[in-house]
């Protein structure tokens, strides 16, 4: 399999060393990696899950807006960020691998290389203290 672009390589290494939950996808939005702090909020260890296609990820994750309403498939923060090539910040509830909904604050942004070509995307998220998840 071909080598990943160096921006993805370096970002994965950076994510591995940060205490901030981070998830990394490629230009097709296939899941490449999430770090240990993210494992807590997603309900599964990355080593147990591994890389996932977008379709596989869609079958697992479910998003609610801050009022508890399901987000349409084109509205999760990373989807918007990748489509519109801009950062997105949003309050959501996310159902992770363990089926548990958690109230999260999410920042997603695209990784854009020289010439504007899309390399991948990054999601940073953290649990909203004292907030009840949508379900």
């Amino acid at each position: 399999m071909a080598q990943r672009e160096i921006e993805l390589i370096l970002f994965r290494q950076l994510a591995s060393s940060l205490a901030l939950p981070i998830l990394l996808v490629d230009h097709d939005s296939d899941l490449l990696f999430f770090n240990e702090p993210a494992e807590v909020l997603l309900g599964q260890r990355f080593d147990d899950v591994g890389e996932m296609t977008l379709d596989e990820r869609r079958a697992v994750f479910a998003f609610l807006d801050q009022h508890g309403n399901p987000l349409p498939p084109d509205q999760p923060p990373l989807v918007v960020a990748m489509r519109e090539r801009r950062p997105v910040h949003r309050l959501v509830s996310l159902r992770g691998f363990d089926g548990v909904y958690r109230a999260l604050e999410v920042t997603a942004f695209p990784l854009l290389g020289g010439g504007g070509h899309l390399i991948g995307g990054v999601v940073m998220f953290w649990e909203r203290a004292g907030q009840q998840a949508g379900r």
Partner: protein, 283 residues
């Protein structure tokens, strides 16, 4: 392909009695294909002597991995620049901010250099090297970004029978903890995959690297590990630190060979020539 090392030193030229064996000129490698296509990889001080070998005007392609001074300083002293009938193409890593001409002109203009690029007598064409594959004469070239401060590429060159990877400035260890284990997540793997000859940054000992993480260069062990991971047949260590004399480079070579199971290791030496394809040999 014929591959000749004209400069194997990194950071700054280091001539002197203690560096005679491996040489003191900075990065420059010449590649000649069977059809006469000439590529010059980087224009460190070693390029000065290359220019003196071209008797008749011809096309020459100079492929720059990046624009740090030790890789471009020789350009102004490359004699064909000042001969009108030479056709010179310079390729460099793409930047998101300025084209190659503007970036090179920072050096190739007063006060840093008395001659401006526009005043060069040769027919000069500058190109942003496309990230991916392209052809120059009888050679296929692949440029790929590698981990090093600023826009930096490595080059893989093949004539269809043999292959060379040239990655003189590279710090793949920024992306792993101890040694690389997964080629998909190791910078430089695609360039070096199954090549006949890998010329790679091997500037530091482990002790030196511990104080220079993030400077953009490799331990000798990183070069060996990448060669093994990628399946390179022969590794030439390169970009020797200016403070390493011949004795120290001999010692670093021995350490590299002790660790290089399955990979032949040589320390790049100015004037060294390799013939790739057919009966490969080197001097």
């Amino acid at each position: 392909m014929r591959v000749c090392l004209w400069g194997t030193r990194g950071s700054i030229a280091s001539p002197g009695p203690d560096t005679i064996a491996y040489g003191g000129n900075t990065s420059c490698v010449e590649v000649e294909a069977a059809d006469g296509t000439i590529l010059i990889l980087d224009a460190g001080t070693g390029i000065r002597r290359v220019g003196d070998t071209y008797g008749q005007p011809r096309r020459v392609d100079i492929l720059l991995t990046h624009l740090h001074m030790d890789h471009i300083q020789g350009l102004g002293f490359f004699a064909p620049f000042y001969v009108a009938d030479f056709e010179i193409h310079i390729w460099g890593p793409p930047s998101t901010t300025e084209d190659l001409r503007r970036r090179l002109a920072r050096y190739f203009s007063p006060p840093l250099f008395p001659v401006r690029l526009r005043d060069v007598a040769a027919q000069l064409t500058l190109h942003d090297a496309p990230i991916g594959s392209f052809r120059i004469g009888g050679l296929e070239v692949m440029a790929q970004s590698v981990i090093h401060p600023g826009p930096t590429v490595g080059y893989r060159i093949t004539d269809g029978r043999s292959s060379l990877a040239y990655v003189p400035d590279h710090e793949p260890a920024l992306a792993y903890d101890d040694r690389p284990t997964d080629g998909r997540w190791t910078s430089g793997t695609d360039l070096a995959r199954d090549v006949d000859l890998l010329i790679h940054d091997a500037q530091y000992t482990p002790e030196e690297y511990a104080m220079r993480v993030g400077w953009g260069h490799s331990r000798v062990s990183d070069a060996v590990a990448l060669a093994q991971l990628a399946g390179a047949r022969r590794l030439v260590t390169f970009h020797h630190d200016p403070s390493h004399d011949d004795t120290e480079l001999d010692a670093m070579l021995e350490d590299a060979r002790a660790a290089a199971d399955g990979v032949e290791v040589l320390a790049g030496r100015e004037g060294q020539t390799f013939k790739l394809g057919g009966d490969s040999e080197h001097d």
